[in-house]
Symmetry: C2
Subunit: 242 residues, 2 copies
């Protein structure tokens, strides 16, 4: 089935955190390895898309976590391109343990960006045709994360040279790091993430300083990454105590 | 040969930087994957060593780089435990491309730390016996990096939750990130690292703020990571223009 792809991975020592479990940003990096691999396998990888002056950009992830893998654990990622409309592509991801039990899943929204104009552009049929998925008129109306209206904490972070990839984008994992590090160790060591809804609104760039704002309401946390007056991304997380 | 071990790797999208090449911290993480794998394969991996109340800590790396791998490139890491004395273990690493050409090499010094006392302790014969390497009376006198006496720049970084591993240590890659990010993008985009000599002196901990101090002398850079009045690590790097 050209619309699906899977890969195996063994969780590495540098992908885990103080908790002994894989970090959330690392988990999402791993899931996205599968979509990158899927596109590459069909000859429409990021380098091909770049030649057209375009680049895939993620606008939203809805992540659900049952169990986080541990160091040394063998896991399988499966991904499936679902369908697309004029501007949005919808893709699902699943993480399985060695016994085939589902550990996590994610629903993501991708858009195509004109690299020069740095603006969203219509989905070009040729970059999606190899996946053999249905074009639809439907636009998914996904829940949007609430803005943290009563912040409990905020921390500043600077976008570093090594945070930027070849396409001059800040890799996803850094947004997760900025958001989650603004929660105290005490909270992170005593809670495990069960859901995250994250929306990316505006790019940040090398050298910029971002503010990570968080509101903790028991086991729900609301996050905002802001650069000057601009909201870069918003997220809403649900947690359970360990 | 029990004293040697190798592993294959394909360079992933999130291991590369704006330059299109693997980041230096990522490269060292990859090399250390091989020493971790080597120890695991002989039944003396970090979890076994931890049961003895101990942990391996790196005190020095001398890295030489000929070419840095690019995204998607297949590489092989080889590592060899060389010999050890009462307190220090010496290990070498090599990175090869698909044609067997050497891309990089590293000589590293490991010590055993008592996890509770947070102090260096004598090398226990049982953790090195499986490698079948020679015990020697010799202590290597390796060149020490110069302290940056006339800094060109300095930046502050905070140790984040996700920088810490299961053993409560700050993963090596973050020291590299703090040191290299204090160089401007202009320098990093126009120079490639050819040598790095890095010495780790004192641990840093979650939540601490470190200052990354750098002195640029043409194509040699001197680095210091300082936490309050304590020097955490020193490095000396040689670069060539791209």
């Amino acid at each position: 089935m050209p619309n699906a792809y899977s890969l195996d991975h063994t969780v590495l020592f540098y992908e885990t955190e103080m908790t002994g479990q894989m970090g959330i940003g690392r988990l999402v990096d791993l899931l996205l390895l599968a979509s990158e691999g899927h596109s590459d396998s069909l000859g429409v990888g990021s380098q091909e898309v770049q030649k057209l002056g375009l680049g895939w950009v993620i606008t939203q992830h809805q992540l659900k976590v049952k169990t986080l893998p541990q160091r040394g654990q063998k896991v399988t990622v499966k991904t499936q391109a679902q369908n697309y409309n004029s501007f949005f592509c919808y893709r699902d991801f699943w993480l399985y343990d060695e016994a085939g039990q589902e550990m996590a899943s994610m629903h993501s929204v991708f858009v195509l960006m004109d690299q020069e104009k740095r603006k969203m552009t219509r989905i070009l049929p040729e970059v999606v045709a190899p996946f053999e998925v249905e074009k639809t008129k439907k636009v998914e109306r996904l829940a949007q994360p609430q803005v943290p209206a009563n912040p409990s904490n905020q921390k500043n972070y600077r976008v570093r040279f090594m945070d930027i990839d070849e396409n001059r984008h800040v890799n996803n994992v850094h947004y997760f790091d900025w958001m989650l590090d603004s929660l105290e160790a005490d909270f992170l060591l005593n809670h495990q993430l069960i859901e995250m809804n994250i929306v990316y609104k505006n790019e940040v760039h090398y050298g910029q300083e971002v503010t990570s704002i968080v509101q903790v309401d028991d086991s729900t946390t609301y996050h905002e990454i802001r650069c000057d007056a601009t909201i870069s991304c918003l997220a809403e997380c649900k947690w359970q105590t360990r």
